[in-house]
Symmetry: C2
Subunit: 207 residues, 2 copies
C-alpha cells in the first residue's frame, strides 16, 4: 500500500493562495508566483500539456517524481469548482481524482486519463476509495487548505512536502490555519534548495 502525502507550495508567510480567489482567479491575487519554480520545469509543463521547461534541473526531477508516485488525488469541492472552469479539456491529473463534496454526481471522465469521482464521504472513507484507485502508488491530498488540514488533523497524512517560496503574499488563504498540534510529530527527511524555491520534506509520525 502506498503512502498518503501532501505536496504544496507555500509563501514564507504561510499562504498557499492569494486573496480574491475564485473560478477565474484560482490561486488568488499574486498566488501564481508561489509556483513560478514549477513553470520552469519540463515535468510540470508536460503535465499541463504545454511545451517548454527545463528537463535537467533538480526542481524538474522533484516535480517528475511527485507526478510519478501519485496513483490518485483527493480534492476539495471548491478546488474542483475552480479548476473545472480553468483546466483545459485535458485535465492535468492523468489519474483518478476523488472530489469531496456534499452534492455527489456521476463520475466525470476526461481526456488524458483523469476521471473525477465525487464522494460525500468522511475523509477516512474518501481515502479508502483513493487508496483502492491508487493501487501500489501513493495518494496525494491536493487541497485546498481546509482539506489538507482535515487530513492532518485526522492523523491520516504520512508525508508532507512543502515548496517554500521566497516571497510574502500578505493576504490570502493560509495553508496551516487550524492545525492540531498533538496529533503528529514531524521529522525532517530532507531539504533541497534551488535558487528560486526550497523543497522541504517531512515524515509525519503519529504521537
Amino acid at each position: 500500500m502506498g503512502n498518503v502525502f501532501v505536496s504544496v507550495g507555500m509563501s514564507l508567510d504561510g499562504f498557499l493562495a492569494g486573496p480574491n480567489g475564485g473560478p477565474k482567479n484560482p490561486l488568488g491575487d499574486g498566488g501564481v508566483a508561489i509556483h513560478q519554480w514549477a513553470f520552469q520545469t519540463r515535468a510540470f509543463m508536460e503535465h499541463l500539456g504545454m511545451e517548454g521547461g527545463d528537463s535537467l534541473s533538480r526542481d524538474n526531477e522533484i516535480a517528475q517524481h511527485t507526478f510519478e508516485r501519485t496513483g490518485a488525488y483527493i480534492l476539495g469541492r471548491r478546488m474542483f469548482d475552480e479548476g473545472e472552469y480553468n483546466w483545459p479539456e485535458n485535465a492535468p491529473f492523468h489519474a483518478p481524482v476523488i472530489v469531496l463534496t456534499n452534492s455527489p454526481r456521476i463520475p466525470w471522465e476526461r481526456k488524458g486519463g483523469t476521471t473525477f469521482y465525487f464522494a460525500s464521504d468522511t475523509v477516512e472513507a474518501a481515502l479508502e476509495k483513493a487508496r483502492k484507485a491508487a493501487g501500489n502508488k501513493d495518494v496525494r491530498i491536493s487541497g485546498g487548505a481546509s482539506v489538507i488540514q482535515q487530513y492532518f488533523n485526522a492523523g491520516l497524512v504520512d508525508e508532507l512536502d512543502i515548496q517554500l517560496a521566497p516571497m510574502f503574499l500578505g493576504k490570502g488563504t493560509r495553508l496551516f490555519d487550524h492545525m492540531e498540534t498533538l496529533k503528529a510529530k514531524l521529522e525532517i527527511v530532507e531539504v533541497i534548495n534551488s535558487p528560486i524555491i526550497t523543497h522541504l520534506k517531512y515524515k509525519i509520525a503519529p504521537v
Copy 2:
C-alpha cells in the same frame, strides 16, 4: 556600516510563540520547542551563562556567528517586559539593546555588557541609535512579531534568517501576520539543514 537583520525561530505553521504568552510564559504554551535546537548548542547555552551544549555541530556554528555579528539589538516593549522578569541578572545580550517604548526611562545597565536604552522613537530613529551603538557590526531586530513586521514594512531589513522548526503550534503569535508584499523582494541566500532544524537565509532587496 553593518547590516540590519532578523533571525528568528518559526514553527512550520508560522508561529514564533505559542498562546497564553506573558512574563511568566514568554514563549507561550509550547513555544520553547521551536528553540530546542538552540539549547543543544554550546554558543546559545554560553550566551545564557549556562553549561553544556554541542560545540562542534553546524547548528552551533550558526548560533555562534549570529551572536558574533550582532553589535546592537532592537526589542519591542512587550518582549522586554517579558524578559525583564525572566532573564537572569546576567542579561543574555552582551551588547546595547534599544527598547521601543512609549514610556521612556533612563538606561539600565546590567552585568555582562548588556545595557538597555529606551526609545520613544520612530522605527527609523531607533534604528539610527542602534546603528551607532553597533559600530561596524550588524543590528539585529529581535522581536516581537509586531516589531519585526514594522521593520520589514518600513523597508529597513537587509537580511532574514529563519530557523524553521519541524512542528505545528496550532495557536499563538504569527511571525508574519501583516506583511506588505510590495515592499521587498526576497532572494534565497542559503539553506542549511540539520536533523532538528532548517536554517533559511534570505536577502531582502527593496522593490
